[in-house]
């Protein structure tokens, strides 16, 4: 579904992504792990179009994504849950979800999606009228994920959803991601909590210095000595 080949991108200074290739199949759960500054967020920004690559290809359903305007990309079925949540602070929780449902599919499925979202995150129903900026970090993360789901995506990209959250809360988030995956939505997850991220995923990539250093399923990655030492602390 998502195919990225030989991607190069940066912010005008030194190149951050240096020939990166990954793919995500429909309905798959793929995790990307890697150290700070490896270029994970940069990759997501390039997929969403906030950043233009200097070279390489991105295809979604066989279509050249780089030819699609950034604000049109979510309409193809890609939802981006950004690093640091980035909810709309002055909008109520429900209005945040409504903004997520800006895509045609999201509007069509709004009633069903909203029911599913409140099923996954009941607390958002209780807070529906509250400005999202006044919620706790964990709840804001739920809004950010729910807002992504409201667009009826086929691919949900999440950039460090557990960042800054208490272990119990981030565990809850990971459980919800597994449920979302069971609904048939493909997931591309960037995480620092490597053990959890790799355990839930069908496949994983290790991103280091703007390149894929290693690729494989949980067995392969957790069997690799470097991964065990650097990321799993084993």
């Amino acid at each position: 579904m998502l195919e990225i080949e030989d991607l190069h991108a940066g912010y005008g200074g030194p190149t951050v992504l240096k020939g990166l290739s990954i793919r995500v199949e429909a309905g798959e759960f793929v995790s990307i792990v890697g150290p700070n500054g490896a270029g994970k967020t940069t990759l997501f920004k390039t997929i969403s179009g906030i950043l233009s690559p200097t070279a390489g290809r991105i295809r979604f359903d066989g279509r050249d994504l780089l030819a699609v305007r950034p604000s049109e990309r979510p309409h193809l079925g890609i939802a981006h849950v950004p690093e640091g949540r980035q909810v709309f602070p002055s909008l109520s929780v429900m209005d945040n979800l409504e903004m997520g449902a800006s895509t045609a599919a999201g509007r069509r499925d709004w009633v069903r999606n909203r029911r599913r979202i409140l099923d996954l995150f009941p607390i958002l129903g209780e807070r529906s009228g509250q400005p999202a900026g006044t919620l706790s970090g964990g709840q804001q993360q739920m809004v950010a994920i729910a807002r992504g789901l409201a667009s009826s995506p086929r691919l949900l990209m999440l950039d460090e959803p557990s960042m800054g959250l208490a272990p119990a809360i981030s565990e809850q988030i990971f459980e919800r991601l597994a449920e979302i995956h069971r609904d048939g939505i493909a997931i591309l997850l960037v995480e620092q909590r490597v053990a959890e991220a790799l355990a839930s995923a069908d496949r994983g990539y290790v991103l280091e210095g703007g390149r894929i250093a290693l690729e494989g399923d949980y067995e392969v990655l957790s069997g690799d000595d470097r991964v065990r030492q650097a990321y799993l602390g084993l």
Partner: protein, 320 residues
């Protein structure tokens, strides 16, 4: 009874301040909408307002609004009708000019982007002023309505005839229309999907793009709407105050003072900011000569910027 006289003067100034403040409030709402969503300092806002005043004037006199609605309702209809053409004009200005120096492409440029915006809006302001002078001439005009020379009398509030307040009818109705338009805009921003889209684009443009929101279009809507709203405020002002193509210069100060007072980027705050500016302006006439009215506003403006840059009414809007 000098005490009663003083009280009467104060109440009269208060009344004048509230009436003109309601119009300033609406002007500020238009500017505040633009600033809140686009983060663009629009120097031309006063001159767009001047265009709105002339639009209302010509709609009223030459284009048949007076003939159709009479001298009583006509001025207000003309003021409201001045909104749509200015909306379209601003839409085109954004499409052709402003969008080149604003929006996501420019946010990456930081300071440099802002210089381009300042120069462009200043340029538009000069073109509108001088173009206006060329086309419309420098003779002051105003929309004439018999209502501007009649007043509601309140009082006498004291026995033996003291304390009567005169509320000018034309200004009172203009103030009510202004409040109604401001409430309408507030409902639009808070209740409709498009309104929420504008707020989302203001809150976090990058996340708005992630939602599939066309942020450039949101900016265009906000800019056009903000200009249209300020134009209506100008049209309402046009039935009480004579104006020339240079009128914008005077009111852009009023608008910035009001918006800054209201806390940069909050619509409700901008209205109250404008209201307070109107009150300060009118109350200052009690102690200062009339020519210094705008100096009072300027002093207040500077005091706000120095003492409370986040404003008095709005939340401080920091962007993530």
């Amino acid at each position: 009874m000098p005490m009663a006289q003083l009280l009467e003067d104060v109440l009269q100034a208060l009344n004048a301040g509230l009436l003109v403040g309601a119009l300033y409030g609406l002007m500020c709402v238009g500017l505040g909408l633009i600033f809140g969503v686009m983060r663009v300092i629009n120097f031309a806002q006063g001159d767009f307002m001047m265009c709105g005043m002339y639009a209302a004037f010509y709609l009223f006199t030459a284009l048949g609004v007076q003939a159709a609605f009479g001298p009583y309702g006509g001025p207000y209809i003309a003021a409201i009708l001045a909104g749509p053409p200015l909306f379209l004009f601003a839409w085109a200005v954004h499409r052709l000019l402003l969008s080149r120096v604003t929006g996501m492409r420019v946010t990456a440029l930081e300071g440099e982007g802002h210089y381009a915006q300042l120069l462009l809006t200043l340029g538009i302001a000069l073109i509108l002023q001088n173009g206006g002078l060329f086309v419309l001439g420098s003779v002051p005009v105003s929309i004439r309505t018999p209502l501007s020379s009649s007043a509601f009398e309140i009082g006498p509030l004291l026995e033996d005839g003291y304390l009567t307040i005169f509320v000018n009818k034309a200004r009172a109705i203009a103030a009510l229309v202004s409040v109604a338009v401001a409430i309408g805009l507030l409902l639009f921003i808070n209740r409709t999907r498009l309104g929420k889209t504008l707020r989302a684009a203001a809150d976090n443009p990058q996340a708005a793009i992630y939602m599939g929101i066309d942020v450039e279009r949101a900016h265009r809507v906000a800019f056009a709407l903000g200009v249209g709203i300020t134009a209506i405020a100008g049209g309402l002002l046009a039935s009480s105050y004579p104006f020339t193509p240079y009128v914008g210069l005077e009111y852009v100060i009023v608008m910035y003072a009001g918006v800054v007072l209201g806390g940069m980027g909050s619509i409700g705050g901008a209205f109250w900011g404008g209201m307070v500016i109107g009150l300060i302006q009118q109350l200052s006439t009690l102690v200062l000569p009339t020519q210094l009215q705008n100096t009072a506003i300027f002093v207040v403006f500077l005091l706000i910027v120095l003492l409370r840059p986040q404003g008095f009414f709005g939340r401080s809007v920091e962007r993530t």
